[in-house]
Each structure stands twice: as C-alpha cells, then as structure tokens.
C-alpha cells in the first residue's frame, strides 16, 4: 500500500494555436484518492490529464506534486491509455516488463511481472500476443503494465471507452478493487457518469470549451461499498448529467459545425 502523491493544479490554462481549450484550472488531487474529470466532449479533460502527468506543457499555470514516493516506484506518474498502447511485437509479459527489464535484475523483474499478471488475472496469457486478446484483456495488460512500476499516481485517460458495455462493467468492478488495493492517487478521465460516481472521491465537472472548473462534487463512500444500483449514486449520476447536459448538446452541435 502506498501513500500516494498530492497533485496541485494551479491556474492552468492551455491553447492549441489560437484555440483556448482550458482556462484558469485550479484543483488538488488528494493522496490516495480518486479524482474523476468529467465534462462535455472537447472540454479539455484529456488535455488537462496530459498536463497533470507532464506530457503536455501548459500555456499558463503550473502543476505541482508533493508527497512520499515508495522506494520501489519506477515511474511516479503513470498513464493508462484509452487505446491501450501495447507494443504488438511484445507478448503480454513483455509489455508488462517494458520498464522493469532495464531497471531491475532478472529475478526481481520476473517476480514483479508474475505478481501483477496474477493481480490482473493474466497469468495464463503471459505468452500471448496483444492481437490475440480481446479489448478488455488488452486493457488489463495496460493496467498490469502501469501497476508493475508501483506508481505513486495513476492517470487513466478514458480507459474503458473503447470497450463494449459488458466488458466495461466487468472491468469497472476490477478497477475499483485494484485502485483500492494500490492506494495510489488516481486521476481518471471519463465521459461516462456511471464510472465517475463508482470511482470518484472528487468529481470535477468541467464546462465546455474553454474548459473551466464548473463544480467539484465529493463522494465520501468507500469504493468497496459502491455498486451500480446504489440509489444515492444513481441520483448523483443524474445530478451530474443535469449539470453537463446543455453544455454537451452545445459541444455536439459545435463538433457538427466543425465537421461540415
């Protein structure tokens, strides 16, 4: 179990050329808690995640991280990608070992790979190629690769959006368990409000472009006690939808205008 990092976003704004996508974002992701970013399409959720993980330089503001990083952590801020980003020429075990093989001796590397494969139910697929796996299994590999580096903060960019509804529900339960076990600070981007209320301790609602923090909702119930049928969570999901519905409709019309 790790303590996790505190990630502080201070006055962050971003623009691509002349297009402002984020404005004046200030947030704090607490150690060991899950912050979920939701908002209409194009509001800059993934851009904000990229900035929080150091993959994008913000046009304005700064992101700070503070906290104890475990001694065996090989990559403090670790992403899980929507498209899985697996290397097709490496087996499942090879993908999981991507970072470990250069940083650990062979014995420790094999042990850690075996540990996360067992944790994610992939032990029997260690020698499989990514192309042989379903979407859900590929995302499990993505999760295993991320957990293998013992991160202090997990950044997940719509990790379930490329999957079918059944697989999404199954993986959502597993995510909840794995995130609880890992105890890391987690930033989770999604457009799915059911995922947001199942996983988030803080749910940050962004407005349509340029994205600004519209509201931050807190959910105190432990992840292990949440379920899809929980009436409080269903009510919260409906409240979230009411908050972003109009923005989502406008954003959709803007997308159609741009496309035509």
């Amino acid at each position: 179990m790790t303590e996790g990092l505190r990630l502080t976003v201070d006055g962050v704004g971003h623009h691509y050329g002349g297009l402002q996508v984020l404005r004046g974002i200030s947030l704090t992701a607490e150690p060991g808690q899950v912050m979920v970013l939701v908002g209409p399409s194009g509001c800059g959720k993934s851009t904000l995640l990229g900035i929080m993980g150091g993959m994008l330089a913000p046009s304005e503001g700064v992101v700070r991280c503070a906290g104890d990083v475990p001694a065996d952590c090989l990559n403090p801020l670790t992403y899980v990608f929507q498209d899985f980003s697996l290397l097709p020429w490496r087996t499942v075990a090879g993908n999981v070992a991507l970072v470990l093989e250069d940083r650990l001796n062979r014995t420790d590397c094999s042990a850690r790979v075996a540990e996360v494969l067992a944790l994610t139910g992939l032990t029997d697929f260690a020698g499989a190629w990514p192309r042989q796996l379903s979407g859900g299994m590929r995302q499990r590999v993505g999760i295993a690769r991320a957990l293998a580096v013992h991160p202090a903060c997990l950044l997940l960019d719509e990790p379930l959006s490329a999957l079918d509804a059944q697989t999404r529900d199954l993986l959502l339960d597993e995510f909840s368990t794995l995130i609880t076990q890992a105890g890391t600070t987690t930033i989770y981007v999604t457009h799915n409000l059911a995922e947001a209320v199942r996983l988030g301790h803080q749910i940050v609602v962004l407005s349509r472009r340029p994205g600004e923090v519209r509201d931050v909702l807190r959910v105190d119930r432990p992840l292990a006690e949440r379920s899809a049928a929980d009436p409080d969570l269903v009510a919260l999901e409906q409240r979230l939808w009411r908050m972003i519905r109009d923005d989502a409709a406008v954003a959709e019309r803007e997308r159609i205008d741009v496309a035509s």
Binding site: D83, L87, W89
Partner: protein, 264 residues
C-alpha cells in the same frame, strides 16, 4: 415497383487471393517444358535461345569444373559487402532523418538530389575514384543500396504510431530506450520490405559493375560468354542470377517470419 421473390443471392465472395505454391511450381515447370518442346521441335532456334537441357548441361559442366564457384564466390562476396555497407549507412541516415529535425531536411535534400541518378552511370566515376579493383564495384553496390534504404527506414520511422512513443515517454523511458524498444521494432517491417528492393537493386548493379571492369564474377562471365556467342553458358549464368534472386528473396521471407512473427 418491382417484386422480389426467392433466396437472397450470395454476393460477398472474391477479393481474397490466396497463395498456391503448387501453381507457382507448375507454372515454372510448364514454361520450361514448353520451351524444351519448342526447341526440340525446331520452333525455337537454339542458336539464339538454347534448350533448357543444353543450359542444364552447361551448368553441370561449369559446376564440375569449378568455374561456376570461382565466379559465383567473387560475386557473392561483392554482393554481401556492398549490400551490408549500403544498408548499415542507409539505416543510420534513415533513422537520423526520421528522428531528428536537424537531420531531416538536409538528409532528405541529399537523398532527393542523388537518388534519381542511375547508379550505373556512376560506375566510370567510381573507377576513377576507387580504381578498377574491388573498390569501385563495392562503392557502386553500396551507393545503389544506400538511398532506398534511407527512404524505407525514414518512412518506417515516420509511420511509428506516435501514441506508442508517448507511452514510452510517459513511462520514463530514455530516448535511447524508446528508439531501441519502440521505434526500431515498429519500423522493422518497412526496413525489411526495403531489403527486398535493395537486394534486387544490388544484384542488378553487381552484374553491371562486373560487366564494366572485372575479370571474375557472374557479370563478367555472362559478358565473356556473350562475346564468344556461347549462349549455353550465357544462359547458364543468367539462370544462376535468377536462382540467386530467388534464394535471397526466400531468405528475406524467412527473416520476416522470424522477426515479425508477432504479426497475424
């Protein structure tokens, strides 16, 4: 208004060609059999196009006398050295062009300016620079192999999914590790496809270079046989070149199976 009545006709077939090894072999055998039959019947003048049996006899005679290996070994050495030198430098510049902005425009300017030059036209220049010996022949091959390799490698690097590189960066991999673990494996299919092209180019240039200034080698042997109107040996030399091309192509196919076994 028209009326439909009956089973729906299947219309989803075709556009799925399959390899049939036996058809390839049967085609080659059929051509040789027809050729032999035409020569035996006097339809094909054997003075200009010897019968396959005559070519086979000439090949056997060249093999037994050691003449074939004496020429083939020299050609293989030139082919190997010239191709390897051109490939190594080509992959190096291709990677540099694909990875670094400082190299991209200068590298592509040089490639664009020099690639279209017919390399055979440069053989006399290389003879002046490197002499009539091995240097000029190896330089011709290496030069001919170099440019297509640069283009194939740079294209392969350009097509590496940027998402995989970002993934490597997000996991804190070093620049060198990203090149070794992501860029090179992702570009490998394009590089290996380039090998097929460059080996064919190398064989063409080998023969051309050996015809211009060499005492030994398959190209020199073919030229010498032609000068003597010895069409049996001339065709035997051409058959050796064809077999060489097939062997090289098969070898690259094996390499692709070994290194790209992760593909479907």
């Amino acid at each position: 208004m028209s009326r439909l009545d009956g089973p729906v006709a299947f219309r989803g077939g075709g556009f799925a060609p399959r390899d049939r090894a036996w058809a390839a072999v049967a085609t080659l055998v059929g051509v040789v059999v027809l050729w032999q039959a035409g020569a035996s019947a006097g339809v094909i003048p054997t003075l200009f196009l010897p019968a396959p049996i005559s070519i086979a006899r000439a090949l056997w005679s060249l093999t037994v006398s050691g003449e074939l290996w004496k020429n083939l070994s020299v050609s293989l050495m030139r082919l190997a050295v010239g191709w390897i030198v051109g490939t190594v430098f080509g992959i190096g510049l291709g990677l540099a062009v694909g990875l670094w902005s400082a190299m991209r425009s200068p590298g592509m300017a040089i490639v664009s300016a020099l690639f279209p030059i017919p390399k055979i036209a440069l053989v006399p220049l290389f003879i002046i620079w490197f002499g009539i010996g091995e240097g000029s022949k190896l330089a011709t091959l290496a030069f001919g192999v170099f440019f297509p390799t640069v283009i194939a490698t740079a294209g392969g690097v350009d097509n590496v999914p940027r998402g995989l590189i970002r993934m490597g960066q997000s996991f804190g991999l070093s620049h060198a590790a990203i090149i070794r673990k992501i860029v090179l494996p992702a570009a490998l299919p394009a590089i290996l496809s380039g090998f097929r092209v460059t080996v064919s180019i190398a064989i063409v240039l080998l023969v051309a270079a050996e015809m211009i200034g060499a005492e030994r080698g398959i190209g020199a042997f073919v030229l010498s046989a032609g000068n003597l109107y010895d069409t049996d040996n001339l065709l035997a030399g051409i058959v050796v070149l064809s077999v060489l091309g097939l062997v090289v192509s098969w070898t690259i196919g094996r390499l692709e199976r070994i290194f790209l076994k992760w593909r479907a």
